[in-house]
Symmetry: D2
Subunit: 309 residues, 4 copies
């Protein structure tokens, strides 16, 4: 088995040197300002050892990666009732597609496309003020990452709120089918803000440990979710975590993962590691270009693919 | 770790007693005659030990499960050139949908929906007579299963050829975009016949061993494909192996698998087992109803999910 | 030639007696309260003679019929520039479909589906306050109908504003593609209010005269639009005026017409008559069931089809 | 009223000089050989007077214009039973789209898109040999045009039969839903051959007279169809006669018309004229570019729009 620290260091070095970096997301104006040459990686193994490289301590906008954690939170509140409002099939469509909603009476295909994540946010919000719901989500992230300094980037949230017409379309569309309980503006407000949580690779890898270790934090021994739920969230990450690039990610990397348009990816090697990478340039499906390549290298060199050695 | 023989025996017993059996496929007239109460299971572990239960030695029509093997064969011939004609993303659509083809200029989403498998068959056929190509596919199955008695059910092939208008539509549609090289009738002829291969669960589990063991047959030591290719085929099975029920299968079972409308499912627990189940009744997505349930039980009781313990 | 007064009286009588009345629109709560047995008809010929029957003086919510008049107004302001934002092809889809928008980068197929009418409203609004734009639309209706008592039913507008999530989805979706210039809430506010204009059949038939008579009001001699524009608006009414029931309306009635979910239809027999009917029950495409039948009878008995005698 | 002979002569002259000619259809190889500079026009008025210009006596492949005549023939045989298999709504899709078929269980939107015309051909074929059905269609054309020299261009039919995979896809797709009664190869054979009928503008305008004159041939006094059926066929031509350019044709020309990819258009000015134009270059929707422009000029100069003077 190769040495993880060495592998991570090498990958960070190789990524620094590559010139194919993809395109930084421009549809949220505030995100477009990020340095396209940034690259970070952090890997935490079962013993809690951290291997990190590059800009692993620079906070970035986690965007859709937050959907993994809101799903976890909502399943804790609503249990399998959640699946009445959201499916769990890959959509075969871009992250912001509305066609599928029209064909399936407003029920989003899965919790990781935008529509599905908005429906999940609406479940978390139920019966609360937006501020309370958002506080709950943020505290959950801080608890999982064991780091109370994690915050929301208000400028990013505001930028998205000003320009997020497509998400407003999705939310209103679902509302017309009764999929959302709360006022559209409330649900969208919470959604835009939890997408604007800023975290470093190190913090994100910390927060993802429960998915790698049967629902438990191996350092503290605390259980976040039962083992079956952790497996199932991983399954949804594998089939739906990269929009219409999910098949490609499974084929190349072979690990459950969730990407965000901020350029981050959280990946899970069950029993072996929780991994976070960050490179702002995106590929055509809206997933981090170098992030995916770095994870492909890591999984290959460490022999971590869930599809066989 | 529970005893595999016991677990398999118990599952076979439980399946026998269940009354929810789904609907036997009726769109291929010949398939509709199958006994809906049949159930078979066979599991082969890394040591070559077989645990079997129920009708594990009754041959059934493997139908779309053959697509795993034609993909393997075509990758051997064409390598990554194959991916110019077929994608590898889940389709989010039923097995016989043509909408996706129109939206993506005739290129099927993945090799496991009908259109994709027809395109793969066309690659195997290239430059040969249908009879030769079919012979090659059949001999490959016999080699993998180490059993030269495996044959094609001519009545099923003829039944499908008489009624397979939707597949003819898919093939002609792709032909209009230049995705198929051979005459449509040739390609469809080979396709209908390889779908009509009849195998028992035991034979099928034998044939699938190379996917569970890094591309090698652990008994003979013969390499079928390189390890990376085995992993990648498993990845495609996981994301695309059950049509628009692929997400559900990953969520509930947590193993790469491929179903056929004959009621069979081939599943792979990497490093641990090659598994075949058969129960003719199908669910709404066209996948074996009890087959899926049996695999869910097996994976859970044996702790085989690829998504964590 | 049969006598128009007699024909209109007979049709009103026959409609009163029919028991197949369709379903009153329920998606706007306020509209659901309308008496389903109401029926009105008014026909104004080239000499300004009015033939009326039934509830021809009862105001009803004109809803989408207003789109004919906002299109006329917007063409006056923007001319052919309007067609950069809206197409003029039948959509083949229901009135509130969003699928077509996704496939065509946010440009609505025609000005008579909801999305198209919202885009037209946005053009009228440009550079003005909602109140001013709405005043302009209302005064245009009053001018055309020669009746300053026409008003907006505020309860209907408020009802639609509270529940019009699907229209909000369409508007936000177009906004995300830059099809709308004004704040979504402004444009929707004007849209909901002009749809809530209440008019009787008599008033509506008066307002539609310019379309029947080459763009002029034959009584006053005033020109509303040039003859070519009147013909073109009629052409769009013929191909797009009844959503996905437009072909059926052309086939059965053979006159340009525009329906509204309030149960009204404005129809035009070029050179011969301006016609308004009202019957609140709708067919499956959202068009007045008895309204269409009454127009079919009228066109047939009077020999008014534009497709031949 | 301008003199028809003069107007037609001027239009032919203007068309000859234009350099924007569109693209000659290339998807049927045999059609691609046509001279792109050809232009013909023929207009027959109520008195049987013919005004012709350009290549008005050169036969060309009428292609989809034949669908008007097969619809007429099939309505004569099957009456309103025909509408169980084919709709009469504009499709909003290209001529060869298959998406709509999947969404509506194999029932084509209207008889003028390819799928619909194939279903109509199947009705004509029912219970006969392809040769007989084709003979019947050809004799019907000869009867309508009063010209027994009209023939089928076998080279075009063969070219289309060899390359018509997309039509084969449509036919097989409908067959899978039970929309076609006859063997797919039979129906397609008749379809490809009636599309390959070759006629001049003069012959085509002659054949179309019954649609302009209430179902009767005004010269012979013979009735082809009842007046209502002529009106209804005209209505379908108006809403569906130019694929996804139907709205545009209605908007600009204002006459019922049917185009073919051979570059011909048959148009009808009810009560006034039967018109045929021919210019091989097509626009983006597959309709004759100069043909449409010529008809727009003709309708405008003669004041023939059905939407008002």
């Amino acid at each position: 088995m190769p040495d993880l620290q060495t592998v991570v260091r090498e990958i960070a070095q190789e990524m620094r040197e590559r010139t194919d970096r993809g395109e930084v997301a421009s549809y949220i104006p505030e995100l477009a300002r990020v340095d396209p040459s940034a690259f970070g990686i952090a890997v935490i193994d079962a013993d809690g050892e951290v291997a990190a490289g590059g800009d692993s301590d620079t906070p970035f906008s986690i965007q859709s990666i937050s959907k993994v954690f809101t799903l976890t939170l909502a399943l804790g509140k609503a249990g399998d009732r959640l699946w009445r409002r959201v499916g769990r099939e890959p959509s075969g469509s871009p992250f912001n597609s509305i066609v599928q909603l029209e064909n399936e009476r407003g029920v989003p295909r899965n919790p990781f496309i935008n529509a599905g994540a908005i429906a999940v946010t609406d479940l978390i919000l139920s019966g609360h003020q937006p501020r309370e719901a958002l506080g709950e989500i943020l505290r959950f992230m801080q608890f999982l990452a064991d780091d109370s300094t994690i915050t929301i980037d208000k400028a990013v949230a505001a930028s998205e709120q000003r320009t997020g017409f497509r998400n407003a379309a999705l939310a209103n569309y679902m509302k017309s089918f009764g999929i959302l309980d709360n006022p559209v503006a409330y649900t969208l407000g919470v959604y835009f803000h939890h997408c604007a949580i800023a975290m470093s690779c190190r913090q994100l890898a910390m927060a993802g440990r429960f998915l790698a270790y049967s629902g438990r934090n191996p350092s503290t021994g605390l259980t976040v979710v039962p083992p079956e739920r952790a497996r199932r969230i991983n399954a949804i990450m594998l089939t739906c975590g990269h929009y219409d690039g999910s098949g490609e990610f499974a084929y190349r990397v072979g690990l459950p993962g969730k990407s965000g348009v901020g350029g981050g990816i959280l990946a899970v090697a069950p029993g072996k590691a929780s991994i976070a990478v960050w490179a702002p340039g995106l590929d055509a499906s809206g997933n981090s270009h170098l992030g995916r390549i770095a994870l492909e290298m890591l999984a290959k060199r460490m022999g971590w693919s869930i599809f066989g050695s």
